[in-house]
Amino acid sequence: MKKQSVVKKFLYSQKVAPYVFVMPFILTFAIFFAYSIVSMILMSFQKVAGANTTFIGLENYKILTNAVFLKSLKNSVFYTIVTCIMMIPIPMILAAMLNSKHMRAKGTFRSILFIPALTSVVVAGVVFRLMFGELEGSFMNQVMNLFGVEPIIWLRKPVTVWITLFFLCLWRWTGVNMMYYLSGLQQIPADLYESASIDGATGMQQLRYITIPLLKPTTIYVLTISIFGGMAMFSESYMLFNGNKSPNNVATTLVGMLYRMGFEQNQLGIASAIGVIFLLIVLAVNMIQLRINGTIGSKKGE
């Protein structure tokens, strides 16, 4: 009887209950994130070989001087920058259009733009690989043919490879970012526009002085996830090139490099080192980014 009351006391205790409720998250975080990160950092100083794992100091970090690694780093950064430049204004404008009361068939357009986000990257990658085939009969070359352009070898030349990748990114993610902006737009009170138009502001002025500033929180969010998404890009390049094999590494990204080291060449130590470097880069970039736009560490007086 007494024992039960202890259990009961414990269960009904106001102090313990919160911890019980957050336990699932804490456990998941500890097992699948914290442990992995610690283990990755450890492994980055080891030569990982089953039972014969040994510490080898900074040996794995020599990868920093490897030409292919630097190229993949450059690729990831380039991809991130360009996608951020593309993936903020375009969805914003589309969202503004879809939000306008003059727009017709909003639901249809919204669905059409959003559907690509629901397809799997793997399927999209395969379809894009076929669409951007190099023979005359491939979809893109037929389109080019309408403009009188000779068939293009899309997936083996740096410039066209990047066009393909950006096209794929644009096709797939515009809908998602547009949704964020739509929800952001719907939170802007209508009376602001009303008073602006009474004051004689044009549509462009309304966009410039009301819409864009008030969308700032959404933009910060979209920018943050775009940076993550861009830096973490892997599946697109993996599928487009039939298994991480882009010619001359034109589209090998940091994660692609990590995958190649760890899972194709059995160099888990080096792969972990790449992971650590990757973590530091993304962390730094996002800290700077959040700092600049004032989300963290900002002036208290605001």
Partner: protein, 439 residues
Amino acid sequence: MKKKLLAGALATAMALGMSFGVGATDDGSTQGTNTFVDGGTELSFWTFQELHVGFWTSMADVWNEQNPDRPINLTVTTGESHSTHSKLLIACQSGEGAPDMADIEIGYYGSFLKDGYLLPINDAVEPYKDDVVMSRVSMYGDNEGNYYGVDFHLGATVAYYNMDIMNEAGVDPADIVTWDDYVEAGKTVLEKTGKPMCAVETSDLFFPQCMMLEKNAQYVDDEGNPNLVTEEHAEVIDYIREMINLGVCEIAPGGGFHTEEWYGHLNDGGVASVIMPLWYMGRFTDYCADLNGKMAIYPIPVWNEGDVREVLQGGTGTSVIKGTENEQLAKDFLAFAKLSKEGCTYEWNELGFDPIRTELWDDPEITDNKDNKFLAYFTTNPFDVLKANGTDITAPNISGAYSATYSTLVSTTYSNAFEISVDQDAMELLQGEQDSIIY
């Protein structure tokens, strides 16, 4: 009420599905088994090629017939190549969940070999030693004379000529002996038909590797270190570049000989010849129906008249994974399946793999079998090439850094050499490539 019931039912179904692991084959893997016998030892097997499942399960049945005292219940699991290899690697690394045996593609083999995940199979191979081309076994070995794997096929490289194009150009492939002859013939073909003589891959290495093996040059040295910067390699690259400049050689559409674009191009008669191993016959019968009865197989050209006109390329080594509880049984079964007459006959008949066992080359039941789809497809007999060249044939050295080197070769080296930096000095280019290899 109804809705609630439905929701409840769905939730239960989901929970049940999850708890019983329904959808275990979501990753697209499939399984096959032999006819299980009572008291058979269970062996698990992983492969990355659907066609191999039939081979292994049939061989297990034959084994059970011949060895009733040591029966096997074999379960073969297959999946997409990359993911199967990485799963296998991770299983080996963690020491848990690995199968008893596995097929490992040649490009990945080095990764498994260098960290000692495989068992030596010398004793099991020993009884077959004199009947087979041993370089196909010893290549899956180390410096200490241990063998770890056996291939499915000999993988002798030959020249496939499109006789429609050759006849139109008035060139007889039988007259082509050296690479210089080949290039001369290529010029004639180009002039008469406007088509290139051959193609080179930028995403694989068969053509340059063939030329290098003929010069006895390897991508890794005897200690297993990357060895790209060699005179021979530079000569091969310059030679192919020259062929491309002349228009005799093209970059394979799609970048490789296993792409949709390339198969279409080949099937349409877009190229006069292909230099590939004999196992490539299966690609012709599968993807190039229009070329049926038009392709002829001849020995590959060589650098100097009198050289052996054959090298071994490509392949898949089957190995026993360390940690299996049935070492001896797995090893014996492996050697039996791959090296016995029954095994080699199956491989030739069903898979089109040129047999590693030499007695089959002289067996009229095999070599003159009119019903064999491969012999029926080609106008010349591939066994003539095998018989002419004997058994002392150079195989690629795949030890040590080969996996890492291979990865660099097929992702950067050849696309740089033949498509992107065509003007860069070959030696300088190779030095840059070698420096980027992580080993």
